[in-house]
């Protein structure tokens, strides 16, 4: 914590949000300032609270599946995958190989879409207006694939418990491959605009440092943890959906600052493309649904299943009492847990960096508040 100064007497409390464009939704941050210096913050959240966990207890397992799309609405496919895996775990079933491969393709496409949205808005917050247009242009192509596949662009509800609802459409593989070929050079284009840009480096380097120990203390996961140098990704550590078959690297940073988080996410987009290319080449033929009873009624028990969502570890803890509805359904949202570290990251920094740090945490308020 910074030393107290003579300006303490005039500590200024400023309210940022909930209606502030760079809080990425309805986040309210109360800033305590000493001149330009941030002495402390307090997050006020809950503006988007819809009681998702309570809804879960009052819906059947299948009925609840579309609700999870509405938590992290920029990565709905990941949410759905985590939920389906959790229920499948409770029922001790597994999706057939074809469904798993398609799941991987769509989930990784979603990771790209989520990171593109982050990059566009993060750059916009910092004052670089151009990238947002490019990012949304590329993201549009991903959303078109989703739309062709399941009819929805954002809240996709792409997966079902035990597999997939829909067979892939004609030309799915070609379209995905075409997207990958087209997309990779675009990442280089973004990097040309930003990576060695002096203003970009000036605004990002050394800002909002969160080292590995602090990350672990706070339970921060995802790109934020990796930027601090921890080579940990659930897709490698505890593979699910057949991720162990694919070759990919876990990008890491060194300093745990905003710039490292930027480079980690950029590389993650390339790695996601790499996974998609392998997965789409190997989609086996076969059924798309496992043997799932019409009425989903897991035996009495409980399970915690988590996946590597674009924002970090997304977990579902479900308690079943052998009825058609979960007895308790807990979502472990990465955004909520990561946001908790905001205070540590902004303390002692400048007020202008708060915006950069909120952007680099890549939170979605729908998931923070649930």
């Amino acid at each position: 914590m910074p030393e107290a100064t003579f300006l303490d007497a005039t500590e200024l409390v400023i309210n940022m949000g909930p209606q502030h464009p760079s809080t990425h939704g309805v986040l309210r941050v109360i800033l305590k300032l000493d001149g330009e210096k941030v002495m402390g913050t307090e997050c006020v959240i809950g503006y988007l609270h819809r009681g998702v966990e309570k809804i879960g207890e009052n819906r059947t397992y299948q009925q609840f599946a579309p609700y999870v799309d509405r938590m992290d609405y920029v990565a709905a496919v990941s949410n759905g995958l985590g939920y389906c895996l959790a229920v499948e775990k409770l029922m001790n079933i597994e999706a057939p190989p074809r469904a798993q491969a398609v799941r991987v393709v769509l989930t990784e496409l979603n990771r790209i879409a989520s990171h593109l949205l982050w990059l566009g808005t993060h750059a916009l917050d910092i004052g670089a207006i151009t990238p947002v247009f490019y990012c949304f242009r590329e993201r549009e192509e991903v959303l078109k694939i989703f739309e062709n596949y399941c009819g929805a662009r954002l809240t996709t509800h792409a997966f079902r418990i035990g597999g997939l609802q829909y067979e892939t459409y004609d030309g799915f593989e070609e379209e995905v491959k075409k997207f990958c070929d087209w997309f990779l050079p675009k990442v280089d284009e973004y990097e040309e605009l930003l990576t060695n840009n002096r203003i970009w480096m000036g605004r990002l380097k050394g800002v909002g440092v969160l080292n590995a120990d602090e990350c672990k203390e706070y339970g921060v996961t995802g790109p934020v943890l990796r930027a601090a140098g921890v080579k940990w990704d659930l897709r490698k550590a505890q593979p699910y959906s057949g991720y162990e078959q694919y070759d990919f690297d876990i990008p890491t940073g060194e300093n745990g600052d905003t710039y490292d988080r930027y480079t980690v996410r950029m590389e993650e987009m390339r790695q996601a493309t790499r996974i998609i290319r392998q997965a789409v080449d190997r989609i086996p033929s076969g059924p798309i649904m496992g043997k799932v009873p019409k009425v989903v009624k897991p035996a009495v028990g409980e399970a915690y299943v988590s996946i590597e969502a674009p924002k970090g570890e997304l977990g579902y803890f479900i308690v079943s009492d052998n009825s058609t509805q979960p007895y308790r359904l807990r979502v472990r949202p990465p955004s909520f847990v990561n946001l908790q570290a905001l205070d540590r990251m902004v303390r002692g920094g400048l007020v202008a960096d708060v915006v950069a740090i909120i952007g680099t945490l890549d939170i979605v308020l729908g998931e923070v508040d649930r």
Binding site: G46, G51, E53, G219, G301, R328
Partner: protein
């Protein structure tokens, strides 16, 4: 087409007689677990003895059940001696008919061992379990959410306030007695100026 114009109320084809074999066995009413034994359990057994009442595995996921007072020392031992340095989540489950009404569940992960375990404890309504903030800083918001949703107050927590709901809100939504439709109508009326949010 003539075939489709069947008279209304035509009797459906008779159902085949129910097969003779017995109905499938009823699923068990409790969680069918297997005992869990490893170096973790050995160390904890030696250290905490009677305070840990169960070591089990269900679906390949290990958990232990401990007495409420022992939870924080267990978390500490797990963190310092067995590398469970990442507190994934804290949550609760409400069983209104049970004398010890709530399960409080701590999910832990160890980067070094690549292993995930759960620590569970049962507490009565109104009991104040000790906070885990002293062991894992990240417990702060997670415990606040448990308080917000279940009304479980954590002793020694630095900031025991609601986190998602407004501070003046009455009631704890995830308790089973609150149906999905029930809410704090007075708050809604006063602050939102509408009769009901439903």
């Amino acid at each position: 087409m003539a075939d489709e114009q069947k008279p209304e109320g035509a009797a459906p084809p008779p159902k085949p007689a129910a097969p003779a074999h017995a109905a499938p066995p009823k699923p068990p009413a409790t969680m069918v677990t297997t005992p869990w034994e490893s170096d973790i359990t050995a160390l904890l057994k030696e250290r905490f003895g009677e305070a840990i009442t169960e070591f089990s595995t269900y679906l390949g996921q290990s958990f232990l059940v401990a007495k409420p007072d022992a939870v924080i020392p267990i978390l500490e031992a797990l963190k310092l001696e067995l590398d469970f340095d990442y507190l994934v989540d804290i949550t609760a489950v409400d069983y209104p008919k049970r004398a010890e009404r709530f399960d409080v569940v701590y999910i832990l992960y160890s980067f070094a061992r690549n292993e995930r375990i759960r620590v569970k404890t049962m507490i009565q309504d109104g009991a104040r379990p000790a906070t885990a903030v002293g062991v894992h800083v990240g417990a702060n918001w997670l415990e606040r959410e448990v308080f917000d949703m279940f009304g479980i107050e954590f002793e020694g927590h630095p900031d025991m306030r609601r986190i998602l709901l407004p501070e003046e809100w009455e009631g704890y939504p995830l308790r089973k007695e609150n149906s999905i439709l029930r809410q704090d109508d007075a708050w809604v009326k006063e602050n939102l100026g509408i009769e009901s949010g439903q």
